[in-house]
Symmetry: C2
Amino acid sequence: MTGRPRSFDRDAALAAAVEQFWRVGYDETTIATLTSAMGVTPPSLYAAFGDKERLFQEASRTYFARTCEGMDEAATRPTAHEAIAEMLDGTARAHTDAATPPGCLVLTEPRLGSQRAAVRERLRSRLDRGVRDGDLPAATPTDELAGFLLAVMRGMSGCARDGGSAEDVLAIARTALRALPPPVDRGPLPPD
Amino acid sequence: MTGRPRSFDRDAALAAAVEQFWRVGYDETTIATLTSAMGVTPPSLYAAFGDKERLFQEASRTYFARTCEGMDEAATRPTAHEAIAEMLDGTARAHTDAATPPGCLVLTEPRLGSQRAAVRERLRSRLDRGVRDGDLPAATPTDELAGFLLAVMRGMSGCARDGGSAEDVLAIARTALRALPPPVDRGPLPPD
DNA sequence: GTCATTCCATAGCGATCACTACACAAGGAG
DNA sequence: CTCCTTGTGTAGTGATCGCTATGGAATGAC
């Protein structure tokens, strides 16, 4: 019933898998590189995580959860402009963090389209709140704008993957903010 | 000296190879799918194109030449705003043309970084001309702006690959234009 | 201790990868 | 026709892919 205990840290092994998928993508990641990076033999990998596909799903879910944390925290900024600026800034920092592979797994991996849609939905949701709060014009095309911002984030990821510096990626984010509608002036007091 | 003549159209076979690399990328394209799509057996492929790497180089060079044609033609527009708008519009149309795979080979394939740098350079060059012509402010950060536009184009390609419609991709292009500096008023005629 | 259960390590499965050896076919030169 | 050159088609190379059969090691239950 109980059996021999596992000889490796499952979470640590999963983190190593995340790092692999993140750096070279699903297709270029092989079971051999995974077992090497995770410090685990193939049978142990399959016993603990199923197959390559399920391991990738679990890895991408872990990765995506962290991404969403960052976005949700940035979304708490009082105005839509500040929130979007913080999201793009955090994205730029994450994409060029020397401690992790460049770019973003969700924005790069072809098969993670649904996660990208979720990111876009989060962007739109924050823009919608900006319209409700009155710091964005009522006529703001929030869905179009969210699609644009997702595209910019993807471009930032690609720039980082091509070796772009943190400043290069940040410059993209800064420029993208110019495409937002001008903030609505709501009087002498800050709206929050 | 003369030998047996080739039994297939080299250009047509190359075009089929371009289509393969374009649709699924370098890594996912196998010799087997290439020979099938090109209507050629492996020895003929290797005799005519070298190996997979050289075939890809020739295919991407062919593809890139067409891309540059489109950009150079768009660059002839009188103002920088019109030229950039035309480039983004042409990009959007190319990325969602039903007759070709969605997205862009150059903007998608990791190993084509130098071609992406060339696209960015073309964008910067046209922006620089806009500054010289006086339809962009003298202080315009043309290099940063070119990096931003390349990122947007990459995002447009990704959107198309994710199944985005022509209108979705065009909306990204339209929104990106809002990030350009306002045109310099150069007299009684409206600059737009 | 014995047993059942679970994990680990070696070793290798069939399939597919990029690529090619070999024999033959199709042309020009003489 | 006989050569010579070059392309074609079959069939298969060693390497690597994702994945697993098998046997032994490590635990708890009794």
